[in-house]
């Protein structure tokens, strides 16, 4: 059964990738292309958050690393003239470095103290950006950021799209390797039972910091890509919204799984854009809130768990009085 499910998800992911890769040949809508780019970036960001959650650490301020990566990449690109293709990774390194620093303050804390610290950290970084760092960052007004691919090159949108697609796939493969590796096992061990992990020789502090570094690095990549795609950066990037989105994506898709953030991001993006067509503004967020709460209560393992749940329900149908309750692991 497990084997089948894994296969299903693997083929599903490959199918999604194939559709995304072939998309520009099917449609030449700039709007959709733009939407796909932002969706790919969200997938990286949600996966980054998910990787940290995989080690048992739930961040409520991941927008901080999104923003730090974006600002660092932009500023390096402006000051030195290096291509954004390189500065993305330099900016992400800065984000990872600061992520480790925050991780250091968090490693000894209870899981929900950590949520508070990360939430507060995003607010502190925003305050720094618009006050002390304002001469560099342009304060609330923000600054222009070099485009990933210069608009003067013909077909620049397609080049950009495929570049971002490649980076997304590379990130997902990297996360897949991490999750399968000893590091991923260590993350799981710490998440499930820190004491036992320690007894088995896993150093929780070290692995938590590794998780922070990897997660903030990927979040930094996502932030830098987003900003170089849009071409402008403001401190709004640090907003609470940007911290909450990846959580919503991951919870809906399935916490702690590789496919969860991908599926969650795609499904929610479709719902979000569909709702936009109905003209709802605030109502869209209300619906997202209901989806999130209903998922947590009725589908705690997310959409990736849905096929199994349906199977259990299908087998259990007809038998009166017996409710299909999925077995606990």
């Amino acid at each position: 059964m497990e084997f089948k499910r894994d296969d299903l998800i693997k083929y599903g992911l490959v199918a999604i990738l194939a559709i995304t890769a072939a998309f520009p040949f099917i449609s030449d809508s700039v709007f959709l292309l733009n939407l796909f780019v932002l969706m790919l970036i969200s997938i990286i960001f949600a996966s980054a958050w998910n990787l940290l959650a995989y080690s048992g650490q739930g961040s409520l301020g991941h927008a901080a690393f999104l923003g730090i990566g974006a600002y660092a990449s932009t500023l390096i690109a402006i000051q030195s003239g290096i291509s954004p293709f390189i500065t993305i990774f330099l900016g992400a390194t800065v984000a990872a470095f600061i992520g480790v620093l925050i991780g250091l303050t968090c490693v000894r804390l209870k899981e929900w103290f950590l949520a508070m610290v990360t939430f507060g950290f995003a607010i502190i970084v925003q305050a720094l950006t618009v006050s002390i760092l304002a001469p560099m960052t342009g304060g609330w007004d923000g600054i222009a950021s070099p485009r990933l691919v210069s608009p003067s090159i013909p077909g620049y949108q397609l080049i950009e799209y495929y570049a971002i697609l490649v980076i997304t796939i590379a990130s997902l493969i990297a996360i897949w390797y991490i999750m399968k590796s000893r590091i991923g096992l260590a993350f799981l061990a710490i998440r499930e039972n820190e004491l036992e992990a320690r007894a088995a020789g896993v150093d929780p502090v070290r692995y938590r910091l590794i998780a922070f570094a990897m997660s903030s690095y990927l979040a930094g990549v996502a932030g830098a890509l987003q900003i170089h795609h849009i071409g402008y950066i403001t401190p709004e990037l640090y907003g609470v919204d940007n911290s909450f989105w990846p959580i919503t994506f991951v919870i809906l898709g399935g916490l702690g799984t590789l496919a969860g953030p991908v599926i969650g991001t795609i499904v929610l993006t479709i719902i979000w854009e569909g709702l936009k067509a109905t003209g709802l503004t605030f109502g869209r967020y209300v619906i997202i809130g209901f989806i999130l709460i209903l998922t947590i209560i009725f589908l705690p393992k997310g959409l990736v768990n849905l096929p199994e749940r349906l199977q259990v329900w299908w087998k259990g149908r007809g038998r009166k009085g017996i409710r299909a309750v999925p077995q606990k692991e």
């Binding site: 739930g58 899981e111 939430f119 507060g120 305050a127 006050s131 967020y285 209300v286 709460i293 947590i296």
Partner: protein
């Protein structure tokens, strides 16, 4: 104004801001103490309380300090429903789950309120607007004094409720030992609902006092004060109501000093800087040893 005058003024603003934090933090402490859940959406109850007061006041013109009671009652109801429908099903599945669920609640409440009342900043004028009382060298708006008095009255009432009534004692028993409370026949689920309702009512009181002070409010006003209230109860000790009071006052003063001396943007940041510094030095909080 001379330096001492400015300092006194800041202290007074801090005292007033502290009142709002104290009410929020006490409510959170009560809920956390009894149910051990982390509800980041607590500030949304403050916001709903504020809007109920403002709406009823604008429609009827009844004195807003009277509407405070109505607002608190309404929030007891809303809180009970939220507890029953959202938090009870996931009780015991982990703190992170509770936090994620409260993010959903934040989305629903903030944007639901924006659908009803719009998302613009609003403010109302209290009937005592413009009346000031000289306190030392300061001219203090009479509303601020009423607000401080109301906060004190609510806290004393809560204290008596917890110490003297049967339900209050059951709440304390549940917070000390949930299993033990069950064993001696306390209906802990009923106590959960009551505690959640009272916690929400305290948030509604905070929201009402926010509105009558003449401060601006909008549907997104609640989230940051709620997280700050959490910072306060971490600093002041989980489950400790005196800790919440002292922490709330200190936070109010620190914040207003920072806003005055460093600039308005630091008003929110300073609370978290304090929180991070304290947690680096003492990962369990200043007085936190027991609790969870």
């Amino acid at each position: 104004m001379d330096n001492i005058g400015i300092f006194l003024q800041i202290m007074f603003w801090g005292l007033y801001a502290g009142c709002i934090y104290i009410l929020l933090a006490t409510g959170l402490n009560l809920i956390f103490g009894v149910m051990k859940i982390v509800n980041f959406a607590h500030g949304e109850f403050l916001m709903i309380g504020a809007y109920i007061t403002a709406t009823v006041f604008l429609l009827t013109g009844i004195n807003p300090y009277v509407i405070l009671l109505l607002s608190m009652l309404a929030l007891v109801g809303i809180g009970a429903v939220i507890e029953r429908l959202c938090f009870r099903p996931i009780l015991g599945t982990g703190k992170l789950n509770e936090i994620f669920l409260s993010i959903g609640l934040i989305y629903i409440f903030q944007n639901g309120a924006a659908m009803i009342w719009g998302d613009a900043w609003q403010s109302v004028k209290s009937p005592y607007d413009g009346i000031t009382v000289p306190v030392g060298s300061l001219n203090v708006p009479v509303d601020y004094i009423i607000i401080i008095a109301f906060t004190a009255a609510i806290l004393i009432a809560l204290f008596l409720f917890l110490k003297k009534t049967r339900i209050g004692m059951e709440m304390r028993a549940t917070s000390q030992n949930r299993k033990g409370a069950k064993l001696i026949g306390i209906n802990v689920e009923r106590i959960d609902i009551i505690s959640f309702g009272i916690g929400c009512a305290l948030a509604a009181a905070a929201g009402t006092l926010w509105v009558v002070s003449g401060q601006v409010f909008n549907p997104y006003m609640g989230s940051i004060p709620a997280v700050k209230a959490f910072a306060i109860i971490i600093l002041g000790g989980l489950g400790s109501i005196p800790g919440a009071i002292i922490g709330g006052l200190l936070m109010g003063i620190a914040e207003n000093s920072a806003a005055y001396y460093l600039g308005g943007i630091w008003k929110d940041a300073i609370s978290f800087i304090i929180l991070i510094i304290v947690l680096v030095i003492r990962p369990t909080g200043l007085f936190g040893e027991k609790g969870e």
